[in-house]
């Protein structure tokens, strides 16, 4: 090509400076924000959810500070102060052994909460590992592992829990084990399905085509796309674990004295409910409030994380 024939004019003659702000002034744009920032923004807009998030935080704080505030411990037995109605000394009354109900409620709530959080955590970890192993290996391993899942999930949840508690005895560790053994199957199925779906997706193929490493694909594509689902799974798992735990403790199979949770308190409350309804109402209200706030927050999280509702 002959460069001499090309005449070059001064650029100023043909081009003019343009102010970018005025050029795009009439275009409505939003600041480009990431998925998580967007989800958080939408969650904050949900006033009901924010209210229950505050309730939840309050419950958690009180389960830690409640016993300190009242200045009483939960095991001291006062023979002369049995079955008292709420008064200035015992803010929520006492139970049939003269123990401060206010303190006991918060400690029971703490037990239920800790069990729920740990069991839900175990469920998530085991489910994730199991599900991803199923999805990655495939073939006969997948088939066999899926059969195992089907067998476990075909036994009703509470029945299997009671069976395991009979075999292994009562206590925190055994209860956690029994609760987690039954619950992870759903998570495993979910993770397996999600990974199988993602593996077929075009952006994973594109990442492969562009030479992305396996690690990169897992960290950048598989994990973030599964994380939302897992958060929701966690939000659903916690109430259901709380529910199972209280039912078992209520039936007298879960925790044994001196350990206690809200379920054990419900059982004690029921035996005296016609004379001292307070002993039943307090754990009832706390339990319902706890599950309600977890459910509302979980629902709001689902709405916030659902990409289809993005606008």
């Amino acid at each position: 090509m002959n460069t001499d024939t090309v005449s070059i004019k001064k650029p100023e003659d043909r081009f003019a400076f343009v102010d970018q702000d005025s050029l795009y002034a009439d275009e409505i744009t939003r600041k480009n924000i990431g998925f998580w920032a967007d989800a958080a923004r939408r969650f904050k807009q949900n006033k009901v959810a924010m209210f229950f998030l505050i309730v939840l935080v309050l419950l958690i704080v009180m389960s830690l500070l409640g016993p300190v505030i009242s200045g009483k411990d939960y095991i001291t037995i006062n023979g002369q102060d049995k079955n008292m109605a709420p008064c200035s000394q015992y803010w929520l009354g006492t139970d049939n052994m003269g123990r401060d109900l206010f303190t006991r409620s918060w400690v029971g709530l703490r037990t239920s909460l800790v069990i729920a959080l740990v069991a839900a955590g175990i469920q998530l970890v085991v489910g994730c590992l199991y599900g991803s192993i199923m999805a990655t290996l495939g073939g006969i391993v997948d088939d066999v592992m899926m059969r195992i899942v089907e067998v476990i999930s075909s036994i009703p949840n509470l029945i299997l829990c009671t069976l395991l508690l009979v075999v292994f005895g009562n206590g925190y560790v055994q209860l956690l084990f029994a609760l987690s053994v039954t619950s992870w199957t759903g998570t495993a199925r979910l993770v397996r399905g999600q990974i199988l779906k993602l593996r077929e997706s075009e952006y994973v193929l594109a990442s492969k085509a562009m030479g992305g490493s396996n690690m990169h694909r897992i960290l950048k594509h598989l994990l973030p796309n599964t994380l939302g689902l897992l958060i929701l799974e966690l939000a659903q798992a916690i109430p259901s674990v709380i529910f199972s735990e209280t039912s078992l403790s209520f039936l007298g199979i879960g925790l044994m004295p001196p350990n206690f949770s809200l379920g054990t308190m419900l059982q004690q409350g029921q035996s005296t409910m016609n004379f001292y309804p307070f002993q039943l109402l307090v754990p009832c209200v706390l339990l319902s409030l706890l599950v309600l706030s977890f459910n509302v927050v979980g629902d709001a999280l689902r709405d916030a994380l659902d990409p289809q509702l993005r606008n």
Binding site: V151, Q270, L287, V296
Partner: protein, 322 residues
């Protein structure tokens, strides 16, 4: 279809067998059971003889084969070691009617109410009825049915209660299946309210899905009345997700009956099972676990088959297509 059903059926049998085996060896690994607790004060010779009578002198493997043989040929899980004379068969005969009646009543009340609320919520979506139903459902899923049962019992029963209903108990004699409503109404509602919420939600979501489908628009366009559109297109299409919800309901009711029966002292199998568990009555626990699992597995099987009937679009190909 026949092939699919046969395949699912074989899986069902295998699963039951596995449940039986796993439960048996789990229970065999407990060091003590009801029998050892009962006889530990007797002289050694008598102890030995009693162990022999119930077959506990043999190693676990041999006992397993023996029990398996009895179960397969006679459906016999062995005699209770806590209450002599009780077998799974005799207990089911005696205690199944209250549980079955309670569950049927819960199902009728729960599913009907749930469907109605769900349909109302979907038809009046984003209006006042929808919000009221939404709040109600949120409340009902959040308050555990155990708490609902206890609160109902606290407020409505007894001489000081609002309705003067009996606190506990269950109709006997000729009222066993029908009648004696004052006993059954509270347990029924305590168990049913949880399902109301679940079904209302599922129905609403399913209906909203089908309301926006093309067949619905077409039906409106050719001049079908709103009722016809709702009945023939929307409600019918919404049955698919509802059918998938059923086995969960049945399994949930079985677990739910454990504590509902406990709260209201219903003489059903749930309360008996809890007794067996606390007494470590090995043969009965084994029998009940297999029994409960069988019901769940059969209901999953039935819902799989129903799934194919309700929705002809679903091809029944592989076993794990659920």
């Amino acid at each position: 279809m026949a092939k699919f059903v046969a395949k699912r059926f074989v899986y069902m049998i295998i699963t039951l067998f596995l449940v039986f085996t796993a439960t048996f060896f789990l229970l065999a690994s407990i060091p003590g059971n009801a029998l050892t607790m009962k006889i530990h004060k007797l002289p050694a010779q008598a102890q030995e003889r009693i162990m022999q009578k119930y077959g506990y002198d043999k190693p676990a493997g041999e006992r397993y084969l023996l029990t398996l043989k009895n179960v397969v040929t006679k459906g016999d899980f062995g005699e209770s070691i806590a209450k002599s004379g009780d077998t799974l068969g005799s207990i089911l005969q005696k205690r199944l009617p209250p549980t079955v009646r309670l569950n049927i009543q819960q199902m009728i009340v729960g599913v009907t109410l749930g469907l109605i609320l769900g349909i109302i919520a979907a038809m009046k979506r984003a209006k006042a009825p929808d919000f009221i139903i939404l709040i109600f459902c949120m409340f009902m899923t959040s308050v555990p049915s155990l708490v609902i049962a206890l609160i109902l019992q606290l407020t409505l029963t007894g001489p000081s209660g609002l309705l003067h209903l009996p606190i506990i108990g269950w109709p006997k004699g000729k009222d066993l299946w029908f009648g004696g409503w004052q006993f059954t109404i509270l347990p029924t509602f305590a168990g049913a309210l949880f399902y109301v919420a679940g079904y209302a939600r599922t129905t609403k979501i399913a209906m909203l899905d089908s309301i926006y489908q093309e067949c619905t628009t077409t039906a409106r366009a050719i001049g079908m009345s709103e009722t016809q559109v709702m009945l023939h297109h929307v409600v019918r299409n919404s049955f698919i997700p509802i059918v998938t919800f059923l086995p969960g309901t049945i399994a949930g009711m079985l677990s739910g009956s454990l504590f509902i029966e406990r709260v209201f002292s219903v003489p059903g199998i749930g309360s008996y099972y809890v007794e067996c568990i606390t007494q470590r009555d090995v043969p009965m626990v084994l029998g009940f676990t297999v029994f409960y699992s069988a019901i769940t597995i059969v209901s999953i099987f039935v819902s799989d088959v129903l799934y194919g009937i309700v929705d002809p679009r679903i091809k029944l190909v592989s076993g794990s297509s659920r």
